[in-house]
Symmetry: C2
C-alpha cells in the first residue's frame, strides 16, 4: 500500500496509533520535504492533542535520529556525556558543566540552540564573544574536543534534518509544548550525537515550557525511557525555574556571570546556578563512569571549579572556536549597554511570587531575543536580578536593573516585570531548587498509564 500523508493525519486525529512504517513515512517526508508544511502542521497538532504511545514515541525519536548524519566516537577515546536543558531564564549551566565534565576526563560534544520564546539561547550568549564560531564542521568539532574535551556548537545542517523542519513548524503552529514532540526533538538530536550518557535538566515552575510539575515529570520520564531504550544512560533532574537562575539573564551578562562561577567566585544571587550546575555535572561524571555515585561526582565537580581547571578548559574552548579572549577578559565593560534602568519595588513586603515566563519575555524584548528566526540579537541586552523569591524588600528598593541598546525598548519589559513580580505581606519559603531525580530505577512511576491527561 502506498502511504498518503492525509491518511496518517486522519488516523492520528482520530486517536489511533500509527505503525512504525507510518511514522517513518512522516519523518522522511519532513526531512526530505516530500510532505508539504500544511500537512506536517496538521499532523503535529493532531499529535499535540491526541498524544503518542511509548512505542510510537520510540519509533518517532529513532526515525528522527537517523534522518540525517549521525555522530559517533566523538569522544576521541573518552566516554561522551552531555547535558540538556528544557529551556529557562538565566540558565547558564552549560558554560559550567561542559568544561567541568571535560576536566573530569570525559568528552562533551554539546550541540545547543538559540533563544526560543521567553527562554535564552546558549548559542546567542556565546556569539556575544567576538569571533566565537558556533557553526563548526564535524572535523572542526573533533579537533576542538581532542584539544579541550568539549565544544559548544550549533546543530549542523545534516544532523537530524527532520527535527529542523518539525521544530521550525512547531514554533509557528503552537505545537511546541507537547511532551511527546519535545521528547522526540531533544532525544533525536542527543542520540544522534552518539552519547554514552545524558543528563537532562527538566525545568519546573513558572518559567518552564511545561509549568505543571506532574507534566514536567512525565516529560522527564519519557526522555529517560527513550534514552535508555536507545542504550544511552539517561537521567532527568527536575529543577526550579520559578525565577531566573542566577543573577543575570541576557547574553554578554550571562557569559560574565559564568566566568565568575567558573572562577569559583561566590555571590548570593548566583548560588542557585552554581548548585544546579554542580548537581548536573555530578550526574554526568557518575554516569560517565568517573565517580561511584552522583554525590561523589558532585565532589569532583567542585574540585574542578576550585582548582581552576574548568575555567581553563572553558577559555581554551572559546579560543579553539575562534573567540576573542581579550574581550572575555575585558569583562562587563566590553559590551556595556547604552541604557540602564532600575525597576524598583512600589511597596514593602516579601518577594512572594514570580511569573518567570514574564521575566523571560522582558529579557527578550530588551533585545536579547528575537521575534523571528534569523533576526540579530543584542549582546548587551539583558537584566540583573537584585532579589530572590522569599527576600524581604523595602519600598523603592531596586528589584531589577534592565540593560538595552534602545531606550524605546524599556516600556514593554517594565510592563512585563510589573505584572511578573509580586510583593506581598506574608513571607514565603524559597522554592526547592532540586525537585526530584528521575532515572531508569523510578521512571515507570511517572509513566503511569491511567488518569494522565495525555492518555
Amino acid at each position: 500500500m502506498t502511504l498518503h500523508a492525509v491518511d496518517l493525519i486522519r488516523k492520528k486525529r482520530d486517536g489511533e496509533a500509527l505503525s512504525a512504517e507510518e511514522i517513518r513515512f512522516v519523518v522522511e517526508g519532513a526531512a526530505r520535504e516530500t510532505i508539504p508544511e500544511e500537512q506536517l502542521s496538521a499532523w503535529l497538532m493532531a499529535v499535540f492533542l491526541r498524544g503518542l504511545s511509548l512505542a510510537e514515541l520510540d519509533t518517532l525519536t529513532t526515525a528522527m535520529r537517523y534522518s540525517g548524519e549521525v555522530l559517533d566516537h566523538q569522544g576521541d577515546g573518552r566516554r561522551t556525556v552531555d547535558k540538556h536543558s528544557t529551556g529557562g531564564v538565566g540558565d547558564k549551566t552549560s558554560f559550567l558543566v561542559a568544561p567541568i565534565a571535560a576536566a573530569a576526563g570525559l568528552a562533551d560534544p554539546m550541540i545547543s540552540g538559540r533563544a526560543l520564546g521567553h527562554t535564552g539561547g546558549t548559542l546567542d550568549k556565546l556569539e556575544s564573544i567576538p569571533g566565537y564560531r558556533t557553526h563548526l564542521s564535524l572535523d572542526e568539532m573533533r579537533g576542538v574536543i581532542a584539544k579541550c574535551g568539549c565544544c559548544i556548537v550549533g546543530q549542523t545542517n545534516n544532523l537530524v534534518p527532520a527535527d529542523r523542519k518539525l521544530y521550525s513548524l512547531r514554533d509557528r503552529t503552537a505545537t511546541v509544548e507537547s511532551p511527546y514532540l519535545i521528547c522526540a526533538s531533544i532525544m533525536s538530536k542527543k542520540l544522534a550525537a552518539g552519547l554514552d550518557a545524558l543528563v537532562i535538566d527538566v525545568k519546573a515552575g513558572s518559567g518552564a515550557f511545561l509549568r505543571d510539575e506532574s507534566e514536567s515529570a512525565y516529560l522527564a520520564a519519557l526522555m529517560v525511557e527513550t534514552g535508555e531504550r536507545a542504550g544511552t544512560r539517561t537521567v532527568a533532574i527536575q529543577t526550579d525555574m520559578s525565577q531566573p537562575l542566577g543573577r543575570f539573564a541576557g547574553n554578554w551578562v550571562e557569559i560574565q556571570e559564568s566566568l565568575a562561577l567558573l572562577g569559583n567566585q561566590r555571590h548570593r544571587l548566583s548560588e542557585d546556578c552554581r548548585e544546579v550546575s554542580l548537581v548536573l555535572a555530578g550526574w554526568m561524571i557518575y554516569l560517565g563512569g568517573k565517580a561511584r555515585s552522583a554525590e561523589a561526582g558532585r565532589g569532583i565537580a567542585e574540585e574542578k571549579l576550585a582548582d581552576g581547571s574548568a575555567l581553563r578548559i572553558f577559555r581554551e574552548m572559546v579560543a579553539a572556536q575562534g573567540g576573542d579572549l581579550a574581550a572575555l577578559d575585558a569583562g562587563a565593560a566590553f559590551h556595556a549597554p547604552r541604557f540602564r534602568r532600575r525597576f524598583c519595588a512600589e511597596r514593602s513586603g516579601f518577594f512572594s511570587a514570580c511569573n518567570c515566563t514574564g521575566v523571560g519575555w522582558a529579557v527578550q524584548r530588551l533585545g536579547a531575543g528575537r521575534e523571528q528566526a534569523g533576526e540579530p540579537v543584542e549582546a548587551q541586552a539583558g537584566l540583573e536580578m537584585h532579589v530572590k523569591l522569599g527576600d524581604k524588600v523595602e519600598s523603592g528598593q531596586p528589584l531589577v536593573t534592565l540593560f538595552t541598546e534602545d531606550e524605546a525598548l524599556f516600556a514593554e519589559p517594565e510592563h512585563l516585570l510589573r505584572a511578573a513580580i509580586t510583593i506581598a505581606d506574608e513571607p514565603i519559603d524559597p522554592p526547592t531548587l532540586i525537585r526530584q531525580v528521575i532515572n531508569a530505577d523510578n521512571k515507570n512511576k511517572f509513566l503511569k498509564p491511567a488518569g494522565h491527561k495525555y492518555d
Copy 2:
C-alpha cells in the same frame, strides 16, 4: 493589541473560545493569504478537535460570507431559494430541484462544487455536456437566471475567498469532517448568494461524510441555527445515503438518469432519487412562499415534472450556459464508455449491507473523480447499480456494471465493491429514505449542550 496567528492557534488548541475579532483575523488571513498555510492548517486541526461554540460558528460563517464579493437580488424580482447537499454518491437531485423551483416561479442561483473524496461533483457531471460553461461572470449568471429562473455554476473567484483557501487546506489536512467547518463552509457560500430560503440535504449513512446519525443531525441543526441567525429561512432534511442514490453514479450517466427523471420516466432503481428530489423541491417551494406547506410544495413539484416544465427549463439552462443540446439528446451513446464490466454476486442471498463510501471510491477510481484538484475527469466513467438494499439476489446475478475508459482501472473498483457489498442469508428492511426534518421549530433539540462529543 496586535493579533498573532500563533496565539489564536494556541488558544483554540487549549479549548478556549476565540473572540469575534480573533475569528475575523483568521478569516481575513485566509482570504488575503496573510496567514501562511501551515498556521491555518494547525488552526483547522485545533478547531476540528476542540470544536466551536455557536457564537464562534456564527462569527466564523459571517466573516467568511463577507470575505469577498456578495451576491444580492439575484432573483430578478423572484424570491431566491436554493438546495445544498452535504455530498453523496449518485446524488443528482440538483438537476431536478433547480428547474422545478424555477418552474414554480422561484429563482435558484445554484453554486455547486466538484468531486471530493468519494462523492461526485455536480460541476463535473455538467461539464460532461459538451460546451457547458460552469464559470460564469456575475452578469452572465444574472442573464441565465433572468431567462431560465435558475443556473448551476461554479464558485467565482471573488465569492467567499476565505472558504476557497480553507476548503483546499482541509482536503489536504484531514480536517474535512468537522461539523463546524462543514457548516461554516456551506453556509458562508449559501449566505453570500443572498438567499431567501435554503433547503439542506444532510446525508446520513455509510456514504455520508458524517456517518453517525446523531452527528449528522447535529450538523443539520448547526446549519439551521446559522442560517436563521442570518435571516435566511433554513431547513435541513436528513436523507439516506447508505447506498448510491438512484440507478447510476458517475458523470454522463447521471446526466442521462436526470433527463429521464425530469421527463417523468419512472424506474424502480431511480425511485429513491425521485422521492428525495420531490421532498427537497417541496420544501424549497414552501419556504419560497409558493405553497402553504412542504407537502403542498411537493405536489407542485410533481406537477412540474408531469407537465414537462422542469425538463424544458433544464434544457434552456443547459443551452444558456453553452451546453450542446444535440449531445444531450444523443443519450447514453454520446459518451459510451470504451470498457464495461459486470460485477456479479458470488452467492445467493439478500443485499443486506453497503459501504456506500467504498462504492463512491469505486466510481471515482474508474475515472469519474480525481486524486488532485485540477486533474481532468472522464465523462464516461461511472457505474450502474442493479440492486437496492433489501433485494433478493441469486449467485452470478449482476450487481453492478462498471464503465471506464481505461481497462487497467477496473481492478481497484472491483476490489472496493467486493468489500463494500454484503450478500447475507437474512432479509433486511430497506433503509428509511427521509430520516427527519430539522428546522427552526425543533433545532434546539439537536443542539443539546451536554453529552455531545463536540461539547
